[in-house]
Symmetry: C2
Subunit: 207 residues, 2 copies
Amino acid sequence: MNTMTVVEKSPIPTEHGRDRILRVAADLFLSRGYAETSLRTIAEAAEMRPASIYHHFESKDALLTEILAIGMDAVTTAFTAAKAGLAENADERDRLQAHVAGHLRALFANQAFTAAHVTVFPFAPADVRAASVPQRDEYEALWTTLLTQLTPGLDSDARRLTRLALFGAMNSAVQWFDPTEGAVDDLAATIVDTLWNGLATRTGATS
Amino acid sequence: MNTMTVVEKSPIPTEHGRDRILRVAADLFLSRGYAETSLRTIAEAAEMRPASIYHHFESKDALLTEILAIGMDAVTTAFTAAKAGLAENADERDRLQAHVAGHLRALFANQAFTAAHVTVFPFAPADVRAASVPQRDEYEALWTTLLTQLTPGLDSDARRLTRLALFGAMNSAVQWFDPTEGAVDDLAATIVDTLWNGLATRTGATS
DNA sequence: TTGCCAGCCTAACGATCGTTCGGTAGTCTT
DNA sequence: AAGACTACCGAACGATCGTTAGGCTGGCAA
C-alpha cells in the first residue's frame, strides 16, 4: 500500500537522497558497527552507487559525525520537552521519571541515531569522537544539574556514580528491550521505581 | 629491571608467544574495536610479524573467540567464588553485594578479556558471536537463579528487567570507572545500596 | 650427531576498502 | 534555447586488509 504512485508528505515518506543515506547508514552502523559497514553496503541499502554518497557527504567520517549529532539533538530535545511538560507541583520522583521516560522515548523513537552514541561512538575514529564530545558534555551537564536538584543530600561522588549507573541501565536497554506498544513508559516507570524506592520495598524484604 | 636475563615465574613475567598475543589483542580490541584493529597492529604490539600469529591461532576470528571465552570464564569463576565465600547467615542484600562485587572485580582484574563482552561482542562476526552465546547464556542463568532467590516477590518480567538494568549499570562501569586502590568494592557497595534501598532513603526525601 | 619441530621470518596473494575522476540525464533559470 | 545546477553513475586509483606459501633457526629427542 505504500507503493502507490501518490507521493505526499507523510511521517515516513519514500526517502530520497541525503535523508535516506543518513537513515540506512545509522541502521547499519548500529547493527554491524562502523568499520564493519562499507560505503558499498550503505549505497546498496540506499539504492544508489557508492560514488553518489560523496555528492551528499564529504566522507564516511562526516556521515557518522552527522548521525551522532542528530542523535544528541534528539535526546537533548527530549530532555527539554520533559522539563517543560512537568506539572508545577511535581515531586522529585515524578521529575526523575519524566526525564527517564523522555530519554528512553528518544532512544527508541530515533533508534539508530541515538543508540549509535552507546555502541558506535566508543570505536569511532578519534576525529569523529572529538567532534561529538561538546554536545555529549552538554547533555551530561543537563542530567548532573537535574540530579543535583533531586538529591541534594547526596555527595557529588555518589551522585556522579548514580548518574552513570542510571545511564548504563537506560542505554543498555537498546540492546534488549523491544518497544512494542507504549511499553517504553512502563520501562521508565519500572526503572525509576527500582532506583527510587529500591528492591527491598518491592519484594517486601527488609535490608 | 624487568629486562634482566633472569627468567622466573612472577605474576607478570615477560610474556611470550601465545599469551602475549592474547593479551595485547584483547587490549587493542577493547580500545579500538575488532574491525579497527589489524593483525599487523597486533603483531607490532606483540613484537612479532603478522604471519607469526598464524602459528598460534587459526584466524583473527579464532583469536577473538578465545579472548571472549577467557573473559566469560573469569566472570563465571568470580560468581562461583562469591557464592562460596558467603557466610551461612548472609541476608539477601549481602548476597547480592557479594556477587556484584565479584562481577566488578572480574571486570577490572581481567580488564580487556571480560570487558570485550560488553563492547566488542555486539559487533563481532556472526560466527564468533554464535560460539560465545552458550557460555554467555550460562552466566546469565546464574544471575537469574540468584535474583529469583533474592526477590521471590517480584514477577519474572520485573526481575528480568532488574537483571538487565543491573548488568547495564555494572558493565558500563568499564567505560568510566578508574579502579585505583580497592575502590571496586566501594563501587559495588554504592550500586547495591542504591539498588536495594533506593535513592529516596539515601537523600532523606520521601516518595 | 642427526633429525625434528616449534617458533618465527620474508614476501606476496587476492579481496576489499575509502575515495576520486570524468562523465550524463533531468530540471530549473534566464 | 542556452546555460547552470542537482543528483546520480561507471570505472578506476592506491592503500590496507586477512591470509598463505615457503624458508630459516635454535633447542630438544633419539
